[in-house]
Symmetry: C2
């Protein structure tokens, strides 16, 4: 785990969240991106060395729909940057953590990503991500 790469926040309306957080951070989002595999559109803000990612569902099957139904809008996941995602998956499985996919997937922001099951991590949805070079 090198650093917190970003924090993901589930919202109902990305445009409204962008307006609000532009006021909070005092600067606008620097990027919007669609991630078809997760059924979301996303926007990114930079704060110091970290990013904040906002996620709005664009399909009914998106995990963001279920999350908001169950818990309401709010913090959805923490993403940690790793150097070798496959080695980390192997290490964490040996430690008893459960991954949501056996191999990493292409996520937002040019990353390979994998999620750990929150039932083994005190309810925290943890993403591991590695930059695609």
């Amino acid at each position: 785990m090198n650093k917190i790469e970003h924090i993901g926040i589930a919202v109902k309306n990305l445009d409204e969240a962008n307006q609000l957080y532009t006021k909070l951070f005092g600067k606008p989002s620097y990027k919007t991106e669609f991630v078809e595999s997760e059924g979301v559109k996303t926007s990114f803000f930079k704060v110091g060395n970290n990013k904040i990612e906002f996620l709005e569902a664009i399909t009914e099957e998106s995990p963001i729909v279920k999350f908001i139904e169950k818990k309401g809008e709010g913090i959805h996941h923490i993403a940690f940057e790793v150097t070798d995602i496959n080695a980390e998956i192997k290490r964490l499985k040996a430690e008893g953590f459960q991954v949501l996919s056996e191999t990493p997937k292409k996520g937002a922001d040019n990353k390979l990503v994998v999620f750990l099951h929150p039932k083994n991590t005190n309810g925290v949805l943890i993403e591991l991500c590695q930059e695609i070079i």
Copy 2:
């Protein structure tokens, strides 16, 4: 907002969370601290330039008890470091945000802290914190 100072995670049992996240991060918590004013005991891990804070309630009145009852264990708040917390409170109130206390309080880790009401921030509990010098 200079940086993400820490992410706070609400847990039922701090010792168990410490053991689990020691495996996840590959290193142990570097500090445990009681914050009587919030009715919590806390532990801190460092990841890159950020901290992860785990919070367990030590009184029935602790906000962490209500949070876990309502949402379950999980990510509780994001704390942003600011240079002048009183100036930020004034600026954010003028922008329409609502603070949970009119003046900053003494929080964990030698900080002055104030929280923004999550109803105005897409369900995200946001802490502003300034190091006490």
